[in-house]
Symmetry: C2
Subunit: 309 residues, 2 copies
Amino acid sequence: MREIRLFCPASVANVSCGFDVLGFCLDPIGDEMIIRKTDKPGIKIIKIEGEDLSLETNKNVAGIAGLAFLKEYPSKNGFEIEIYKGIKAGSGIGSSAASSAGAVFGINELLGKPFTNNELIKFAMKGEEFASGALHADNLAPVLLGGFTLVRSIEPLDIIRLPFPKKLFASIIHPKIELKTSDSRSVLKEKVTLKKAIQQSANLAALISGLYTDNYDLISRSLVDVLIEPYRSALIPSFNELKDSAKKNGALGSGISGSGPSMFSLSKGRKTALLVANKMGNILKPLGVDFNTYVSKVNPIGIKIISSK
Amino acid sequence: MREIRLFCPASVANVSCGFDVLGFCLDPIGDEMIIRKTDKPGIKIIKIEGEDLSLETNKNVAGIAGLAFLKEYPSKNGFEIEIYKGIKAGSGIGSSAASSAGAVFGINELLGKPFTNNELIKFAMKGEEFASGALHADNLAPVLLGGFTLVRSIEPLDIIRLPFPKKLFASIIHPKIELKTSDSRSVLKEKVTLKKAIQQSANLAALISGLYTDNYDLISRSLVDVLIEPYRSALIPSFNELKDSAKKNGALGSGISGSGPSMFSLSKGRKTALLVANKMGNILKPLGVDFNTYVSKVNPIGIKIISSK
């Protein structure tokens, strides 16, 4: 195999009470990447379409992730990467994770799969670190493993793939505003009350239970974030109205996707998820805020090979 | 039915990363209670053996829990209660929960079961409130429902019964020292770092996943308490040595049971659990600290009817 074409899906991290640890993979939204094996060692990013991102290997998350892979698994070959961005950078649905994951997944395939997808996460995390300044895997894990994933620990890396009800659909609304990572971070408190910490962990534990038992009601009751949302939601236009609308129209619950500005809602069934997305759009329209909406089942597979030769 | 004799089991709450929300039921350790229907309204505690506890209805957790039941479900009958304590008060394995649960369970049976066991928790919580000053259900839920339970929320009460691997055994060591609730509380910090709160919730989520999937390794990796144990463990003699010994002898993990001074360990299989209990005992013996040890499977049933007439 000399060349592989991939679909690298978007993902939702910071799933409500699962801040920093829970993520899930989306389906129809994503980037395409072509990775090509060459005879010249190293990684070269030869084309990026759809976003204005650096072609310099060590200034691009895909390049950085790929280099981390090759550092642990040196090859006489090199790799050319083409990136066709379908995910907007800074939208909060795992743009950098898709590119980081795609690079290491593609190189791994072209080298005969020396690593499992789970093992690839640690290389891709180097890309995430470049993008956000911190090692995190909560977008990468669902992209590389599919479905819902829990990051129990980063050091050592311990990822658990979770089951989920088959009728679980996500509605995403991406208000096209710029939300600086530094702002998303600076509103967070370094300390929280023990009481709220316990409340958050009880909701996450109950959400996990709901995912294992296909209990939509329990999932709905558990989608409560008392630690982060009260602060970050202020950075998203009409957050409370959007959240109320989603609930009113049948969503199980909503939250900030990643560090925003996108919001996710989870619903039982595509029909409800479509309604939820439409109604949320109706709230942003009169405000003059440009936005995109997406509806997606939870993607059980993650990253996909479109073609190879 | 005029009279019922019950076995009211001990339980472990504050299960490591599940502080305040996770509990499980023990098997061979517990109180016995006799509840007798009489013609004189009200509740009378006529006998307590094994512990020096108040016979006054409104100064005894069983009496208080029973009164809470009768307040919502008035009866022309009254109830006599005899309590044979097998659980030491203040040992940290749910002494007050056993008595509170027993009272409401027995009255419910004698009145033809107007409530489910889950519904009885809210009455029994009044007993717990009297004993500890706070409404909590993390011991009551496993006593009344059996197995492992998660308290997602107290207000409204939302309890989830969790599955668990069938070979899961607990070793309990109860060092017979007095540990004042006020001391157990005063060492806790009102605020914790967001980072540790997330770490704790990730471990709890992973523990829940391990319980659903019979994954002993994951259960073992997840039994980590970064919020409470670092402070409370100082109140328990040789805590770290006991914990290290348990791990060395094959336990999956250990923690403080309730607010101490008892410690629990979880192991795969009775044989390991027995070894763990013995070896922990060997650590306390030379210190001159009197102690009890118990080994128990996780009790899947909870409170049991011994006989009725």
